[in-house]
């Protein structure tokens, strides 16, 4: 199979992701790793909580991966996304794309994270010292 999609309640494993996409036909792998920042708009973030509409999220992630396979000469695509509570420095998302030539890897990886952020039903709550906010919920 050329696509691996997973939602996980436990720590994402970067090494596994890279090993999974690596193949002898490929010359380049681009990997995007999201990490939890300690601040947003200048305000200290304590942690994040991610919630997913799991069945639909998987379906939308599969669509995005399939679109990337259709648009670029890509060998393998992996998308892992966390749910649950994440501390600063933890990894909410890993996207890994292996291709024969590197341009397609960069283009496809960037397309996947950009589209994921627009269409996949996963929600992030920022938890501050003095409260919490669902990101992007309000104008």
């Amino acid at each position: 199979m050329d696509i691996e999609i997973k939602l996980s309640v436990t720590t994402l494993d970067v090494q596994h992701c890279i090993d999974w996409v690596m193949s002898p036909e490929c010359g380049g792998i681009d990997v995007f790793i999201g990490t939890v920042r300690n601040a947003t708009k200048g305000k200290a973030v304590l942690r994040l909580a991610f919630e997913a509409y799991e069945k639909m999220a998987i379906k939308e992630l599969e669509k995005i991966a399939q679109q990337a396979l259709d648009k670029w000469p890509v060998q393998k695509i992996l998308i892992h996304h966390r749910t649950g509570v994440l501390q600063v420095g933890e990894i909410p998302v890993i996207i890994a794309v292996a291709t024969a030539h590197r341009d397609a890897a960069f283009d496809a990886c960037r397309y996947i994270i950009d589209t994921l952020k627009q269409t996949v039903p996963i929600w992030k709550k920022e938890i501050f010292e003095d409260g919490e906010v669902w990101v992007a919920a309000h104008p």
């Binding site: 991610f50 509409y53 639909m56 996304h81 994921l116 996949v120 039903p121 709550k125 669902w134 919920a137």
Partner: protein, 80 residues
């Protein structure tokens, strides 16, 4: 007909729980559902935007809701 609505993220806070049961006409559309929900939960109108999903696919306002459909309210997503 009675349909069950799943809620996520901020809509879970707005509805006060992860699911909600509403009464709809048999030929109700997504648009009718939104109108009904916005009447009961005016805070929905304060969201940047929100979508309805039917059976795990984004639905259009004109799409019809059926009794055993899995219906979900999708507030602005923020994964990644």
């Amino acid at each position: 007909m009675k349909v069950n609505i799943l809620a996520f993220g901020i809509t879970k806070d707005i509805f006060g729980g992860p699911a909600l049961s509403v009464d709809l006409n048999n030929d109700a559309t997504v648009s009718n559902l939104k109108y009904l929900l916005e009447g009961q939960y005016p805070q929905l109108k304060k969201l940047s935007t929100y979508m309805v999903a039917i059976n795990n696919e984004y639905a259009l306002d004109g799409d019809t809701v059926h009794e055993r459909d899995e219906i979900a309210i999708i507030p602005p997503v923020s994964g990644g």
